[in-house]
């Protein structure tokens, strides 16, 4: 005879404990704090089509305080931030960007429909953090082309930077083939001339106009 059949209560106790453990396990099943909410193909599309970038001249209204739906975030460290920053910007260094407080605040901004523009010294440095935020699902986060270095150069007449393309990245500055062929290597003048690049310049608008 089986021992359980002698003592049915025991079976019930075991059953209860068993179920309790399973239920507790399910309830406390830990999901990671941060997950990528943007599917990979969207991330790639975003990169290929240069989505989510802000042109330096678009910042004038933000700096002048005419628009309050845009938050500028400086990703550099406190030391660099203290030495100079874009007026009205807030300092959250890349290292602390994903801390609980900051994620909470970013979520807060997102629900309020605020636009967050991140920048570093140049576009390259802000690229990684910006991409991570985008992949986490913060589609209201944009990146400042040219970064702080470009801004600093044009700080006094930011509006005029409209006609200056120096912040554009990703286009060839030379005719590689011509430059790298042996015939031209020592004739600097001929090969170093810039090939004319036709850049599609975005219509001059404010960041807030299109929403986030």
């Amino acid at each position: 005879m089986h021992i359980h059949e002698l003592n049915p209560k025991r079976t019930i106790v075991t059953l209860v404990i068993f179920t309790a453990i399973i239920v507790i396990g399910l309830v406390t099943l830990k999901s990671p704090r941060l997950v990528f909410n943007q599917p990979l193909n969207e991330t790639i599309e975003m990169a290929v089509w240069d989505e989510g970038s802000v042109f330096p001249y678009e910042l004038t209204d933000v700096i002048n305080g005419n628009i309050d739906t845009v938050l500028l975030v400086d990703l550099r460290n406190t030391f660099e931030f203290a030495q100079g920053n874009i007026p009205g910007s807030e300092n959250i260094s890349s290292v602390e960007l994903l801390s609980e407080d900051n994620i909470e605040r970013l979520e807060d901004h997102k629900t309020k429909g605020m636009c967050v523009v991140v920048y570093d010294n140049d576009q390259l440095h802000a690229n990684g953090p910006w991409m991570v935020l985008r992949q986490l699902g913060f589609d209201n986060v944009k990146i400042l082309l040219g970064g702080y270095n470009y801004y600093k150069q044009w700080a006094d007449n930011l509006d005029d930077s409209y006609s200056n393309d120096a912040y554009f990245k990703g286009t060839p500055q030379f005719d590689y083939n011509e430059m790298a062929s042996s015939a031209n290597v020592d004739e600097d003048d001929a090969s170093a001339t810039k090939t004319p690049i036709t850049v599609q310049r975005k219509k001059k608008t404010n960041v807030a106009e299109g929403g986030c």
């Binding site: 079976t11 990528f36 790639i44 290929v48 690229n127 990684g128 953090p129 500055q173 083939n177 290597v185």
Partner: protein
């Protein structure tokens, strides 16, 4: 038969059915965001054009250059032995075999370094290691390796050493004649170079 066994069986079946409602987690292989951010913050992924040039010249077997520009751009000009993985097909199966090969250093490059860096972030999210970005991209390659700038006369000896390395690399990559550097043309070059120093001095 004891009723308890029936209860037990039913319970087991219910619990087993519960597995179906567990949330699907298809991205478990991917790097988690915090780790990704951590590796982004560190500048170790950037490799200078000089190092890449040196690796090509020395035929470093661990070098794997990856051109992330479009196919058209790649067929027009590419670095020696580079393979083409356009940014938009980075996740397609055929190309992923080129990434994550043990012992190889995959170095992304594009016209600049933004696109290469974006490819890097995506590949890193997919969990690939040993990937790098060529700093400055092809534009910098042209400025530093193909047409290096002669340092000022007051520059340090390291800069002159770097310049002579770049000059040699330039000849290696362009197949230019050594005689082109004869003294006759040197005076002319000096004048031109001085104009350029302010623009590209210090690299990209």
């Amino acid at each position: 038969m004891n009723k308890n066994y029936i209860y037990l069986t039913v319970l087991m079946l219910v619990l087993a059915a519960g597995l179906f409602v567990l949330p699907e987690r298809d991205n478990s292989k991917q790097t988690n965001p915090e780790d990704l951010m951590w590796s982004i913050v560190q500048p170790t992924r950037f490799i200078s054009t000089d190092v890449v040039a040196k690796m090509i010249i020395e035929r470093d077997p661990t070098l794997e250059l990856i051109d992330v520009r479009s196919e058209d751009e790649y067929s027009e000009f590419s670095l020696e032995k580079a393979i083409n993985i356009p940014l938009d097909s980075l996740t397609s199966e055929n190309y992923q075999n080129y990434l994550g090969i043990k012992g190889l250093k995959a170095i992304f490059y594009s016209n600049d370094d933004i696109k290469a860096d974006q490819a890097w972030v995506i590949a890193k999210r997919l969990g690939f290691d040993n990937i790098y970005v060529m700093k400055g991209g092809l534009n910098c390659w042209m400025k530093t390796i193909i047409e290096p700038t002669q340092p000022n006369e007051t520059a340090s000896s390291e800069e002159f050493e770097l310049y002579s390395f770049r000059k040699g690399a330039s000849i290696y990559f362009t197949g230019a004649n050594m005689e082109n550097d004869s003294e006759g043309t040197k005076a002319v070059i000096n004048v031109q170079r001085k104009k350029k120093t302010s623009v590209v001095e210090g690299g990209c």
